[in-house]
Symmetry: C2
Subunit: 405 residues, 2 copies
């Protein structure tokens, strides 16, 4: 008898009909002889609705209170799912994050899981129950409720799977798996049967919105296989695991892209120690994530510094960078909010030269100008004009022969 952990996202439980559909899928896994633990997100837009309610009573809601408020979304969906299973004739019990033993630090709204004490889950499984755990939440040592922030329910699922020593963690969502590129941009995009944790991390961070990177990292740490599949079909999905099959010849596994990119260039920066800190520390304090950073070679102790942020953070970032420019004696600042990122990802790339050249040529042949380049061991990313992103993804998909992956 295998123990499996399943996770269903908010769109999979958005209304009572969808909850019944999910209950049917869980029942099937139980009928197949498995012990089943299910992690569930809040229904549809519940979390946004709760945030809206908080903003109506307070301009800056207290984070501790907000976490208790938001945690109710998953309590609602988990109890409804347990009820739906019981009405199908299955024994089921819902557990809060606290009851499920998800212990976190007290960083409200972005708590980190410290440990999982699954004894209540184990006891309920032994009674023959299907266990439904409210995702996205945990509890501090002082019994205060926390939420895990972005990707919280994915992280809950993988953490439980690891602590229960489950056979697999199945993440059910509204996409069918991980593709070689976004199928809306590339009609020839194919679904990957397997992908390596590292590759998935690069794809996930760079815009393939299937599973949160934090959950993939946790899966990698505990070597927990994660299946990503659709809750609306029986299509097999993509397995994220330690090593993609040795059969995989193609060394580029996928093309990721992200159109939420803005560039800030500070011109005439005096090139001496401490300048970078003076610019980036205030941005970090404002919780603005800075992505690519490029500094040109210095000419006469004056240099230019370029970095990217999310388009949605541009106005806030500029309100911080403006005063800093003056204080460090830089000349001026220009911005461009019409950019996008395109990346090729694959573990095979790290030992094989020539991928970068092939990428640049494919973009050049489409007449696409590359504004910035950044690389990791298993990824090459180019920043280009946003209106050319579709051409770029299609050209790269073809250049690396991913349609026959």
């Amino acid at each position: 008898m295998a123990l499996i952990v399943q996770k269903y996202g908010g769109s999979s439980v958005a209304d009572s009909e969808k909850i019944k559909n999910v209950a049917g899928r869980i029942a099937k896994a139980k009928d197949e002889g498995n012990q089943v633990v299910v992690v569930v997100s809040a229904m549809g837009d519940t979390t946004d609705e709760l945030i809206r309610m908080a903003q109506q009573v307070s301009e800056q809601p207290d984070e501790r209170e907000l976490d208790v408020l938001l945690s109710t979304g998953e309590l609602i969906s988990s109890t409804l799912l347990a009820m739906a299973l019981e009405s199908l004739g299955y024994k089921a019990v819902s557990l809060t994050g606290a009851q499920a033993g998800i212990q976190t630090d007290s960083s409200y709204s972005r708590a980190r899981i410290l440990c999982v004490d699954p004894q209540r889950i184990v006891a309920e499984l032994e009674k023959g129950n299907i266990v439904i755990v409210a995702g996205f939440q945990g509890v501090t040592q002082d019994m205060d409720i926390t939420t895990l922030g972005r990707g919280g329910s994915d992280t809950t699922a993988v953490a439980l799977a690891a602590s229960l020593n489950a056979e697999v963690c199945q993440i059910y969502t509204d996409v069918e798996g991980v593709y070689t590129a976004d199928p809306r941009l590339v009609s020839e995009a194919t679904k990957l049967k397997q992908i390596d944790y590292e590759e998935m991390l690069e794809l996930a961070s760079y815009g393939a919105k299937v599973i949160h990177p934090r959950a993939v990292e946790l899966g990698q740490l505990y070597n927990m296989p994660i299946l990503v599949a659709s809750s609306f079909s029986d299509s097999p999905g993509t397995l994220i695991c330690k090593e993609a099959s040795m059969e995989v010849r193609n060394k580029v596994r996928g093309i990721a892209h992200d159109t939420n990119v803005a560039k800030i260039t500070i011109i005439g920066v005096p090139d001496h120690p401490g300048i970078a800190a003076a610019i980036f520390e205030p941005l970090a304090r404002a919780n603005i994530s800075v992505d690519t950073i490029v500094q040109n070679a210095s000419i006469g102790n004056i240099t230019d510094l370029t970095f990217t942020v999310a388009q949605s953070d541009l106005v806030k970032a500029m309100s911080i960078v403006g005063p800093v420019i003056k204080s460090i004696g830089a000349k001026r600042c220009v911005t461009d909010s019409t950019l996008a990122k395109v990346s090729i990802v694959g573990t095979g790339m790290q030992n094989t030269p020539g991928y970068a050249a092939r990428m640049f040529r494919a973009l050049y042949e489409q007449g696409i100008n590359i504004q910035l380049i950044t690389t990791s061991e298993i990824r090459i990313t180019c920043i280009i004009a946003e209106d050319r992103i579709k051409d770029a993804v299609q050209a790269l998909h073809k250049a690396f022969e991913l349609e026959i992956a």
Copy 2:
């Protein structure tokens, strides 16, 4: 520095504006130098909405799951109220029933409070916090969430007040206090400054929907003064306490009425032991509350048996009584669903004869027929036609000179 417990009902926190209004009232109590603990109900119709959601996924929702689901209503209102207080510049913290130390038995949907361990509340008060407690809920020894059923938040408030040794428990609602009769029926009805626990129990049970009897009983047990007042005005309200002022000359304190009354009469019942049990046990199992029961003197071992139920329970009650009639060999059954109850209440009545006679005469002078009579030590109740209830309440209010109470 006094410690006071306040409770705000669902209509007082129905939307964000009302929550802000309540926050202002709590702030005022704090500014007056008090330590303040607040118990809050779910916003407006939240509980009904959650029940509707449960019914959409299950015809008979599991009670344990339903309790977790319903408990979210009070978590939402308590966190929003804490946020609203903080945005006014006050230190506030919300606590779940479990965090507030409300320990109950495991009778889901109607749990009883076993004990209150207020150490977390005390610790938060010592930090200078206003403490907002989610009403209506508690936790079992196994850390399972329960709800307290009808009157739950009132009961939470009085239980906390007792365990914290508070100076007073203030129940804020959408009425201004306890009146000598329903002001919608009797324009001369006056608000009582004080009322005895026993009197309030009789008034509350018999239709004056101001505070739940269960909370009054608890108040009486711990001798905790309970103020009932409006959350929408600064009117002083009614204090429920051990003994109404000695100044109170008038021995009838109020007229209660209830128009939700149906009568069932079983005709030709064989009069032997076990018959009453045969009739009332199945009704009790179906959770139908039977009120007045009258059995006529037996003639030739055959008697008639009459009892009342809520009009809303009549159809269900008849579906149970029908088969029982046959099995016990009774003749037939007649029902009347157009009835109402009217009661006079007052502790002074118990030692003074003549109240019943005065009541019957006042009704007779209005040409109102009395169908059934039932009494307690401090109450006399008559069942009359529903369409005469206004006349009856007005006539009794006048007969007992309550307009000058």
